[in-house]
Amino acid sequence: MSITRKIERIALALVVVAAAGAAMVVLVVSGEEDPAGSPVLADAGAVVPLPEAQDLRLRPGEGRDLVAATCTTCHSLAPIIRHDGFSAEVWEQEVQKMITRYGATMDPGTAERITAYLQKHYSGPPAPAAGTSDAPGTAPAR
């Protein structure tokens, strides 16, 4: 979900205000991304519409809403749901990576709750991939 689309959704009752806000967000973002004097990149607001995935619903459980709200600041739920089967360690590393590498802003308590939700609900055995579920050679050579 894009930032602009999210703003529009949250402010359902204030459609006009939301649209104006979205336009401003785009302008601000452009200004931040294009330091003065650098080449013109894009028309403000010309975000290409993206189809949203229809199969992305987080499993119910404590922390689901927090995960949905926090993680979709930058990306959809696909990176979570498509990685059903990450180990507990990998989920912890992934949340930390979002903070340190990608600039996600969340306090340690939030990070902990998000990690706990992902570990509890998305560490199951992964769905087999393209019929290769029990494929020899999908593990590293020894």
């Binding site: 990149l41 519409p49 993206l50 749901i81 990685h83 590393q93 393209a130 494929a135 050679g137």
Partner: protein, 396 residues
């Protein structure tokens, strides 16, 4: 295969989510012919088929940022085979919001410590320069990562974050010359037009100039003779034939000509030129297709390397104990993939796994299993034959 079987296959491949996806969802469009009477072939991706604006339905790995893999059934295009049709060319963006760039306002800035000039070039300027057209495989370094268990971090692509296209654009050397690149220039870094995630990190990728130049790099503005789709980098992107594509910066807006590594390279590795390893993929029949016990199965696939030239491709139905030579179609260009064909026995009812293995003229060939160093690197540049096995159902 009847529709029940396809549903079961989708369920197996995707988990319960696929059922929700295929039940009347707005964007999900499994090809109609795949579920109607008489159709047999699954599309060749486990992900829901969704069409971006101007694109054919592709396997939606992520919706946002947009990452779509080409179904293996569409890797070999129909208009100018073996090149992938433009609307089927895979899509890989790190940016959650992709912007349409106004080509009239677009400028490419070229300069740096190892250049005498700093210049801004418009698309018109670039089109006035000499042009070159080159066909090449473009492959994500994460090809096949999603086939590996247990899952490892990174995009879970299966077999479709690869395509083969004919690119038209300006040879990079022309642009470097205009900026007065000095003889001691050793590194070239490219910046994409948008920043990534909340950190708003610039997307810089640096290359070793000398080894990159051996591959004939260009700044491309056409794919298969058509304007670049925004999904593939409109209006201008880097193309380095015979190399892995993460450094083929899309919507490139700045070129930094340097004597030293770029301090903000995305991965932070030493500048280099990541040459494609010898690789092969069986594309027909697609994974999950049903064949008859005792029948002969006609296979078709694509194989490539970084331009050395392929010596041979072999296939195996006994997990690599014995190999059957494939017939190679003629090469259409040193960096383009070659189509191969082979016939193998289906054998008894059950699961048939067919391996393929390409060997380059320099003797390099695909390994059977994933080497430790490839695992340690997040399963990047994996070419293990067992990872990419074609998996067919043999019906008695």
């Amino acid at each position: 295969m009847d529709s029940t079987a396809i549903s079961r296959r989708q369920l197996l491949a995707l988990g319960a989510g696929a059922v929700a996806a295929s039940a009347g969802a707005r964007f999900v469009a499994w090809p109609q012919d795949a579920v109607s009477a008489g159709a047999t072939a699954p599309p060749g991706t486990p992900f829901p088929l969704v069409a971006l604006d101007g694109k054919a339905p592709l396997g939606q790995v992520y919706d946002q940022p947009p990452n779509y893999e080409t179904p293996t059934s569409r890797l070999i295009g129909r208009r100018n085979p073996p090149y992938t049709d433009t609307e089927d060319y895979y899509v890989r963006y790190r940016e959650a919001d992709v912007y349409r760039v106004d080509p009239d306002r677009f400028r490419l800035r070229v300069g740096g410590e190892a250049a005498t000039e700093q210049i801004d070039l418009s698309m018109a300027d670039l089109r006035d320069l000499p042009t070159r057209r080159v066909g090449t495989v473009g492959a994500c370094a994460g090809l096949g990562r999603g086939l590996v268990r247990p899952l490892v971090p990174g995009m879970p692509w299966t077999k479709g974050d690869v395509s083969c296209g004919e690119w038209t654009g300006v040879p990079l050397e022309e642009v470097l010359r205009l900026a007065g690149a000095r003889p001691d220039a050793s590194v070239v870094a490219f910046r994409g037009g948008r920043t990534i995630a909340a950190a708003k990190r610039d997307y810089w990728r640096h290359w070793d100039l000398e080894s990159m130049n051996r591959q004939g790099p260009l700044l491309a503005y056409e794919l298969n003779g058509e304007p670049l789709p925004v999904w593939n980098g409109f209006p201008l992107r880097v193309v380095v034939p015979g190399t892995y594509a993460p450094g083929w910066v899309k919507q490139v807006v700045e070129i930094d000509i340097r004597r030293t590594p770029h301090p903000r390279d995305w991965r932070g590795n030493a500048p280099g030129t990541p040459l494609l390893k010898p690789m092969s993929l069986i594309v027909e029949p697609t994974d999950g297709s049903t064949v008859q016990a005792g029948a002969t199965v006609a296979l078709r696939g694509v194989a490539w390397d970084h331009g050395t030239g392929l010596r041979r491709v072999d296939v195996s139905v006994d997990d690599g104990r014995s190999w059957i030579p494939a017939r190679m179609e003629r090469s259409v260009g040193r960096y383009a993939w070659r189509v191969f064909e082979a016939k193998v026995p289906a054998g008894d009812a059950g699961t048939l796994r067919v391996l393929s293995r390409a060997e380059s003229r320099d003797g390099t060939r695909q390994p059977l299993d994933i080497p430790e160093e490839v695992m340690a690197d997040g399963v990047r540049k994996n070419t293990a034959a067992r990872t990419f096995a074609a998996v067919l159902e043999v019906r008695g």
